[in-house]
């Protein structure tokens, strides 16, 4: 069986990752691919900032600028932030609730591959005739008439990766509901698990409207339907509503886990119990609920009328209340604590003021009359980057340092981490703080250049310098990651010394079954409780040592995904769409397109049938094998983790 000490060949390793259903390995896949797309999207941002560095710049064409701004936004939200957060959820949530794996390991793997192939599909657009260029919101009035296949790549790529996200979200909900260890009641769950639960529920309700919106766009562009074509009775506002019913909760889908991660980091380094736990839980649920009530604040200027605008304005402002509760709780957790300023804590301390700044400008925009002024200006760009970089990216960087020992059994360098933090943090504020004022001075967003002497030149130059600093910060983080490969292994539990929840009670490297015996949870912060009582084991057990049931690996998820990937090309090059009729884009023959569509979906359906007909009962790891694995691991740790 897969004891750690065994060394595998390269081919076997690759096969292992292609077929794995282990949440720890899927977490690594998510983290790696999320980082890849984060780097791509960050590079796009720096190119855009170079274009905007000086007025009347001709570094790139207007068309390329549109493609880059679309791909930057789309990639960052769907293909960078989401997978990295999923990486942490996969790695940590099962450990926090005392589970051996997620509820549906097969679906976990399927979700990852769908996300990954959707992302690859979207990025192939750069090589196959041009990327999407209608902004990440892809408003129908603009995107419907975009020549070439760019928008088609957007629609199909997001359709596939969105399906993967939905599948993973469902999996997390069920995992948290059914797989908790004995004693892990809802009100003992760590905050990260809570925010994962709420944010997965948001995924569950927010992604279907996106699926429908994308489908309508798909059939409109590729198969001649008329949802958004006003000459045929269509209505482009339908897209705006469907998109924002998804789009606004998406922001909370990303930021709630970030809140959860900080709620794990802060108590550990303040060495105090999280202040106001139950109000934190309540605030999380409330933010999740209100997140669905406010989508139309993105559409104040659409012309919905004063009543609708007023209702959505008030609902939007109401979100500031539970968010404020959370901010005060974090501050009061730190208050009077015995604080250790490590790299994760630095990010947490930087997060609070940065995120509050983003939140306050959000409330400003919630004021509908003011929004008419701010709409589509750089003020908006500044606002959402404060929320996303100040809230989410700081959480991801901080948690990378925080959880690296558990995920990889290595630690990231603190010294380099502090340097990275300052370069990134200063760069972030340089980039975006001045953009508030650019917006107030009237600079519109999504423009590829501007005239000189409008008072924008200096601010744009400084903003670009900041963006380059952020880029340097990311490079430093990547160097830190690479250096960690050669660093000595951690080989122990509780790397930070003050871990509180169950994941810190496990000795790294983890065995593939996580817990040799299911733990018994005796209260909130279970590991802290055991430490206080001097329990050397770190946990008490709910069962004697025995056989462990584990799921089988499977290649079928990859097969299903490849089927949809092939079918997407059939739809993309469909000869029935308006694009093909207008002669603005290449298409296949009817037979060719149908072959790809039916063949691709056929592969997917065939894989589903195989999955359905072939019994998959998993396997049992016997008690003797568990004991042997534990011995091998102990030996491995004793030898300093050298193979």
């Amino acid at each position: 069986m897969s004891s750690v000490a065994q060394k595998k060949g390269f081919g076997a390793q690759v096969w292992d990752f292609l077929t794995t259903v282990d949440h720890k390995k899927i977490a690594i896949l998510y983290l790696a691919s999320g980082t890849l797309f984060f780097a791509i999207a960050g590079f796009e941002a720096i190119l855009m900032r170079i274009q905007l560095m000086v007025p009347n710049n001709d570094f790139m064409s207007a068309g390329l600028f549109n493609e880059l701004l679309t791909m930057h936004g789309t990639t960052m939200l769907f293909l960078a932030a989401t997978p990295i957060i999923f990486g942490f959820m996969n790695a940590i949530v099962p450990l926090q609730i005392g589970a051996r794996d997620v509820a549906f390991p097969f679906l976990n793997s399927l979700g990852f591959w769908m996300f990954f192939f959707g992302a690859v599909f979207l990025h192939l657009s750069f090589f196959l005739g041009g990327a999407p260029d209608a902004g990440w919101t892809s408003y129908a009035s603009l995107s419907l008439y975009s020549p070439g296949h760019g928008i088609d790549f957007y629609v199909l790529g997001l359709q596939i990766s969105g399906a993967g996200t939905l599948i993973s979200g469902l999996n997390f909900i069920v995992t948290i509901i059914t797989m908790r260890a004995p004693g892990m009641t809802y009100m003992r769950m760590p905050l990260f698990t809570w925010t994962t639960l709420v944010s997965s529920s948001l995924i569950l309700f927010a992604f279907p409207p996106l699926t429908v919106g994308l489908f309508l766009m798909l059939v409109d562009r590729m198969f001649g339907a008329n949802f958004f074509d006003h000459t045929m009775g269509g209505n482009t506002i339908v897209w705006e509503h469907l998109f924002w019913i998804f789009g606004h909760p998406e922001v909370y889908i990303l930021v709630l886990p970030a809140f959860g991660l900080f709620s794990e980091i802060i108590p550990v380094f303040a060495r105090k119990r999280l202040f106001g736990y139950s109000s934190m839980v309540f605030a999380t649920i409330l933010i999740g609920f209100l997140g669905f009530m406010v989508w139309a604040h993105h559409m104040f200027t659409t012309g919905m009328g004063a009543t609708a605008n007023a209702i959505f304005a008030v609902a939007t402002m109401a979100i500031a209340v539970p968010t404020g509760m959370k901010v005060f709780n974090w501050i009061l957790t730190i208050w009077g604590g015995s604080i250790k300023v490590t790299v994760p804590m630095l990010y947490a301390l930087a997060f609070i003021p940065s995120f509050v700044a983003g939140g306050v400008t959000g409330v400003m925009q919630a004021t509908a009359p003011l929004d008419y002024q701010l709409h589509d200006s750089y003020f908006i760009v500044a606002h959402f980057h404060y929320v996303i970089v100040g809230g989410i990216v700081t959480a991801l960087f901080g948690s990378a340092h925080f959880y690296w020992p558990i995920i990889f059994n290595r630690a990231l360098s603190e010294k380099l981490g502090v340097l990275t933090f300052w370069v990134f943090f200063i760069g972030f504020h340089l980039t975006f703080f001045l953009q508030h004022f650019l917006g107030l001075m009237g600079m519109p967003r999504r423009v590829f250049t501007y005239m000189a002497d409008q008072g924008w030149d200096a601010f744009n130059m400084i903003s670009t310098i900041g963006a380059i600093m952020m880029g340097v910060g990311v490079v430093l983080l990547v160097i830190n990651v690479l250096l960690s490969i050669k660093s000595p292994p951690v080989n122990r539990r509780d790397y930070w010394g003050d871990g509180r929840s169950l994941e810190w009670a496990l000795e790294t490297p983890l065995p593939f079954y996580n817990f040799k015996q299911t733990p018994l949870v005796r209260g909130f912060d279970p590991y802290w409780i055991e430490k206080e009582e001097g329990n050397e084991e770190g946990m008490v057990y709910a069962e004697p040592l025995g056989d462990i049931h584990m799921p089988n690996n499977s290649i079928i998820p990859l097969g299903m995904t490849i089927g949809t990937f092939i079918a997407a090309f059939g739809a993309l090059y469909s000869p029935w769409g308006d694009q093909a009729i207008a002669g603005t884009a290449d298409s296949l023959s009817k037979a060719g397109s149908l072959t790809l569509l039916i063949g691709g979906l056929g592969i997917t359906v065939a894989c589903m049938i195989i999955r359905s007909v072939k019994d998959d009962l998993g396997y049992h790891v016997t008690k003797a094998e568990v004991e042997q694995t534990e011995r091998a691991l102990a030996e491995f740790r004793a030898k300093g983790g050298k193979r």
């Binding site: 509820a103 699926t211 489908f215 001649g224 949802f227 009775g233 359905s612």
Partner: protein, 208 residues
């Protein structure tokens, strides 16, 4: 869970569908999936309501004249009764009567297939009189809403048929009991969605 474990009606668990951890996961998972699917249908319903009767200037089709209630009523009856027969199948599953389960599931498939045939007839008829998918925003929205439901029916039929065929020779056990239960739950959901389609599309359509 041992797949070869033999049961009798006496020792068969009262809730076989949730007797194992896998069964519990599937049970919760399917309910949650249905919640998500509800939002999907809500979005398509909303789109349909926004685009109903909307088309190019001078469009000759309107919901008031298009739909034929007797056909829609026949379809409704077929689907409602198929839901009832799937309840019979679950009733027999509780009593560990595998033959009853298979028979009533097969009847469910037949009724569902009848529904599907009527739907295909209806679609074909509309296309024949010029109300094709690309005719107007209204036609696109109509076919997308009713077609999405139709696709769910097709998936349900393939699913239940696969279950019947796969398990024909081995009888009930704790591995396939949750599968039958989930398929029947999904089938009820399709039925409920149809009730809304019947009301919102056909009844409200005929009223104008």
């Amino acid at each position: 869970m041992d797949i070869n474990q033999k049961f009798t009606p006496q020792n068969w668990p009262k809730h076989a569908e949730t007797a194992t951890q896998e069964g519990k996961n599937k049970f919760v998972g399917l309910w949650i999936f249905l919640a998500s699917d509800t939002v999907l249908f809500a979005s398509v319903f909303a789109t349909y309501l926004a685009l109903k009767d909307q088309g190019p200037v001078g469009m000759e089709f309107a919901a008031k004249d298009l739909y034929e209630l007797p056909l829609a009523f026949a379809m409704t009856m077929l689907l409602l009764f198929s839901s009832l027969t799937s309840v019979y199948a679950m009733y027999h599953m509780k009593n560990y009567n595998f033959k009853g389960v298979q028979t009533w599931m097969a009847v469910t498939v037949l009724l569902g297939f009848g529904f599907l045939c009527l739907e295909i007839y209806e679609f074909n008829h509309y296309v024949h009189i010029g109300f094709g998918y690309t005719q107007s925003a209204y036609s696109s929205a109509f076919f997308t809403l009713v077609g999405t439901h139709g696709l769910h029916v097709v998936i349900g039929l393939v699913w239940i048929s696969a279950l019947i065929i796969r398990n024909a020779k081995r009888g009930l056990n704790l591995y396939n009991a949750p599968k039958y239960f989930m398929a029947s739950l999904y089938w009820h959901f399709i039925d409920v969605v149809w009730v809304f389609i019947f009301t919102v599309v056909y009844l409200m359509g005929v009223l104008g």
